[in-house]
Amino acid sequence: MKETLHMTVNGESVAVSVHPGAMLVDVLREDLQLLGTKIGCREGECGACTVLMDGKPVASCMVPALKARGCEIKTIEGVGTGERPHVLQQSFAREGAIQCGYCTPGFIMSAYALLQENPKPSEQEIREAISGNLCRCTGYTRIVSAITKASGQ
């Protein structure tokens, strides 16, 4: 028995018919065709699926879709686009913080949430904010400096 999920995604109200067992990441990717959010582990460990739920980073692979009823979801598509990139996206590109790019949307979501709450974070605060995001390519150093530079420090 499908249920209707009403939520706001990147500022737009949406109503999606979902199986009660669906996870938020699959609804975003399959039903809403927002493919920027990636799936890495389906265990909430890698952070590739990070989206903002009412402003807070969550692992969307572990959020039952119906939990998002009435919530505001922001995905990477809501942060910036190719034509109008967010300062974080520009900084990541400039600083060499992107190699394969698979982890990048998740990192940007965590960094975006951090800068909303703490516009001038220390290195320690940055590292804590991204502690739920894994990168196999870059070794993290350039990701940390990209976020630092994006914060204007």
Binding site: P20, T50, V58, A59, M62, P64, L66, E128
Partner: protein
């Protein structure tokens, strides 16, 4: 697409939850944040007929002072708890412990009640609550009851919360006695890891002497434990290097870890000694 449950209910009151638990029996499981439950379901590859989400219960996420106790609703997220002015003021040890759980993504979804209810012997939230004389409020058919944390934990994955029951809040006494505390955790990583060993210490020190002591050790027994002999040894003493060394040896002796995939029992015992020492040294710095 593989679905792990067929029905997802979001009742608005505790009474509704209890009625649903009665109605569905063993076909239903409770979910708060789901960060332990969903990982477990993936591993067990099982399908649950009914999931009952408690997070829409009005007021279940409240953190408040109630009759001399700090009460933390079962729906309060770890993030809400570590940012709460009330908790930071009255139970900084809990804030330290909660901050070491998972990652920001996990803490934004997970609950303290879930950490306690999941009953891992290595749980960080549970450990701090044990050192803070915490209690769990359980609601069931016969009404509500309060259970001390040590009574509540029965073994790995087992608690006194039975079928047809749910945790509604967790509370701890708040008194005027000044307490200094510290939490230490060592795992295989700096974040997103289960403790290989963890220690929570809360001491009340008056005129340089220990008046009241609580020492809780995690991941070194079937549940988190209080190191009672070590607590006794501290009473009336001044914290100095000699006492700290002696008491941390006692902590090591009181632990009974096993070998598992994360570490050996021998390593865990030594870790307990080192972490207890660090906690006491930190408390000593605080009071100086």
């Amino acid at each position: 697409m593989r679905y792990r449950w067929n029905t997802y209910l979001q009742p608005g009151t505790v009474e509704e939850v209890l009625k649903l638990l009665d109605k569905y029996g063993s076909d239903a499981r409770l979910i708060a944040g789901g960060t332990d439950l969903i990982v477990g379901l993936e591993k067990e590859e099982c399908v649950i007929p009914v999931l009952i989400d408690v997070c829409r219960i009005k007021g279940l996420d409240l953190i408040k002072l109630d009759d001399g106790r700090l009460s933390i609703g079962a729906g309060a997220t770890l993030d809400g708890i570590e940012k709460s002015e009330l908790v930071r003021d009255k139970a900084p040890l809990l804030v330290e412990a909660v901050h070491m759980i998972g990652s920001p993504q996990i803490r934004n979804t997970a609950t303290l009640a879930g950490n306690v209810g999941n009953a891992s012997p290595a749980a960080d939230g549970t450990l701090a609550l044990l050192a803070l004389d915490g209690s769990v409020r359980v609601a069931g058919r016969s009404g509500e009851r309060d259970v001390t944390l040590s009574d509540f934990m029965l073994g790995p994955g087992r608690t006194q919360c039975g079928p047809g029951e749910m945790i509604t809040s967790i509370s701890l006494p708040v008194d005027e006695v000044k307490t200094n505390s510290h939490f230490q955790k060592i795992g295989l990583r700096k974040a997103m890891n289960i403790a290989v060993a963890n220690v929570a210490i809360a001491l009340s020190i008056e005129e340089g002497k220990v008046r009241r002591s609580r020492i809780a050790l995690g991941a070194v027994g079937p549940t988190a434990i209080r190191a009672l002999a070590a607590e006794e040894a501290l009473k009336g003493k001044r914290l100095d290097d000699g006492v700290i060394n002696e008491v941390s040896e006692l902590c090591m002796e009181q632990s009974s870890p096993i070998d598992d995939i994360r570490a050996s029992a021998e390593y865990r015992k030594k870790l307990i000694r080192a972490l207890s020492k660090r906690c006491m040294e930190n408390v000593l710095c605080q009071v100086k």
